[in-house]
Amino acid sequence: MKNYIIRRLLQIIPVFLGILFILFFIIDKAPGSITSNIMDPTMTPELKAALQEKLDPSLPFYVKFFNWLSEAMKGNFGYSFKHYRPVIDVIGDNIGCTFALSLVALIIAMLIGIPCGIISATKQYSLVDNGLTVLSLVGLALPTFFFGLLLLKVLAVDMKLFPIFGLMNPLNAKADFWTKLGDQAYHLVLPAIVLGFAEIASFMRYTRSSMLEVIRSDYIRTARAKGLSEKIVIYRHAFRNAMIPIVTLIGFRLPGLISGAVMTETIFSLPGVGKLSVEAVSTRNYPLLLGINAMLTLATLFGTLVADILYAAVDPRIKYH
């Protein structure tokens, strides 16, 4: 198991470097490239000069890439002039919101989607199954932004049940920790529902098809022939097997989840990396864009790694391959 994790970690490195290379290549092509506005004004003149030399636009592309990479490894992703702060700090301020939103949505999706998928599969072609299938088709087809706007209009604007934007009521700025936390959770309810809805649908569909396949397999017949109760047959024997592909879905859904978070943050004006990156585009803040992309790529890769490890944990056959 340990070897497996180490091997997967080693496999991630070239992929990550490849993505960074492509990203840097793209952004280097942009007018007013990264190299011109990466400097932190609080740096000493010597450091500035050194960095200037390293990222000189006249240098060959690959040299600039490796110089940028070595700086990035030290945590220096450049400076965001719009925020008057280093890129890494700006991202750090905003990533918590995105992370919380995605995590809550993912948990909602799993807690609702997986059981619904199991019920749908065990009662195939029943009224419940058809109803859930229609709901999941709607969930997959309803774009995040449209669903978000609908909820925003009906629940927040018209019925005033939820706040319209932001992560916190400014009046609570000086409140104690628990009030603040409660207020933030309250602000996250609608965005999490919006983001979670589509994810519920994909978890449900995936669980359903995975369960259907497993339920028809020979070992489920064996389990029934052994005299086990239907509950144990479905929730222990079938589900343990159906879980194997579902676990990989968690990794696969990460890029989608992040895309969804970008849209959701924009609609609900949440201070997350999604909204940050849309702003970065309009202000041509390339160091910030590059930094966000690098961070999200790393998060995605890490997510697939976690999924792979979970996969090995639920499927005994993996460890030996």
Binding site: T222, A225, R240
Partner: protein, 334 residues
């Protein structure tokens, strides 16, 4: 044979009908099948694939998926209870306990994510209320019984670590763990190599004597039947066409289909280098010919066979045949 009749039947199947309602129409997979299994005997069921022999056996413990399957009628009397009428809870007490199954595919019949030991222990804990430790001890004993070397190590292995033959032994160990009264073996050796096949068959014959269980043995392989069965039931297109003890079937088959099966075996004693085959194909169960389903392939078929089908008649003591012309005797019109 006569002393067999004095024994009381362990299982009585009467007019069992298991149908499938599919998009392509009604499929009568098991159509009015009746037979008995006596204590301590091995009844073999032979037939081509798709003749309903597997569905017959699955019906015994209501293992057929419903829907699309449906038990349309008949009785399955086991231990004085009608298996088609008892509640699910009562049924579960019988499955794996009094009636056990071994399936065709050892590679897929064991749950891939659970250890061998756990899968055997499960049966014991459900039916024998054993503690975890007792069950584990018993599982090791069961593996030992089916001659698996190193049972203490094997209980901690996952199925994928074992060969097909080994897995089938595990299946047998699991099926016999609760000393069932009836063991249903659905083509247990078909997927195995010939040498492994012989070993597994020997093992089953030995264990049958040790545990004193009845066996319902399904196969399409006549040589396996000859080795295993006391009596043989031949099925064609969902119906029993002939039922007799094993020597009678091989020496004096009466149904034209059985005659065809017996004569299509490779025969070492003749110098003929051609195999006899039954002409035609296995019929499509959703689109059976009228009358006797075998009539398009039967050399003796008459108009009578195309219009109706014979009852299962006891033509001589304990030899039942469903044919108007048992033994292929020529009839007037031909």
């Amino acid at each position: 044979m006569s002393e067999m009749m004095e024994k009381k039947p362990l299982l009585e199947v009467k007019n069992l009908k298991t149908y499938f309602h599919s998009a392509g129409g009604l499929v009568k997979a098991v159509d009015d099948v009746s037979f008995d299994v006596y204590e301590g005997e091995t009844l073999g069921i032979v037939g081509e694939s798709g003749c309903g022999k597997s569905i017959t056996c699955m019906s015994l413990a209501r293992l057929v998926e419903c829907p699309p399957g449906k038990y349309e009628g008949g009785e399955i009397l086991f231990d004085g209870q009608d298996m088609l009428k008892i509640s699910d809870a009562e049924l579960r007490k019988i499955r794996g306990n009094k009636i056990s199954y071994i399936f065709q595919e050892p590679m897929t019949s064991l749950n891939p994510v659970f250890k061998i030991g756990k899968q055997i222990e499960e049966v014991l804990r459900v039916h024998r209320n054993m503690s975890k430790e007792e069950a584990k001890k018993e599982a090791i004993h069961a593996l030992d019984l089916v001659r698996i070397p190193n049972p203490e190590r094997i209980v901690n292995e996952y199925p994928f670590a074992l060969s097909g033959g080994m897995r089938q032994r595990v299946m047998i160990a699991m099926a016999l763990a609760c000393s069932p009264k009836l063991l249903v073996a659905d083509e247990p050796t078909t997927a195995l190599d010939v040498t492994i096949q012989a070993q597994v068959l020997d093992l089953m014959n030995d264990l049958k004597k040790e545990i004193d269980t009845s066996i319902l043995f399904i196969t399409h392989d006549l040589s396996v039947i000859a080795e295993m069965a006391d009596r043989v039931m031949v099925m064609y297109a969902g119906k029993v066409v002939e039922l007799a003890d094993v020597n009678t079937i091989f020496e004096k088959p009466l149904h034209p289909y059985t005659i065809g099966l017996i004569s299509s075996r490779p025969d070492m004693s003749t110098t003929s280098d051609r195999l006899n085959v039954i002409p035609g194909n296995v019929p499509d169960l959703s689109d059976l010919p009228t009358g006797c389903a075998f009539n398009p392939r039967c050399p003796y078929a008459s108009d009578k066979c195309r219009e109706g089908i014979s009852e299962l008649v006891e033509v001589e003591p304990n030899h039942f045949v469903r044919c108007y012309y048992p033994g292929g005797e020529k009839h007037d019109g031909n």
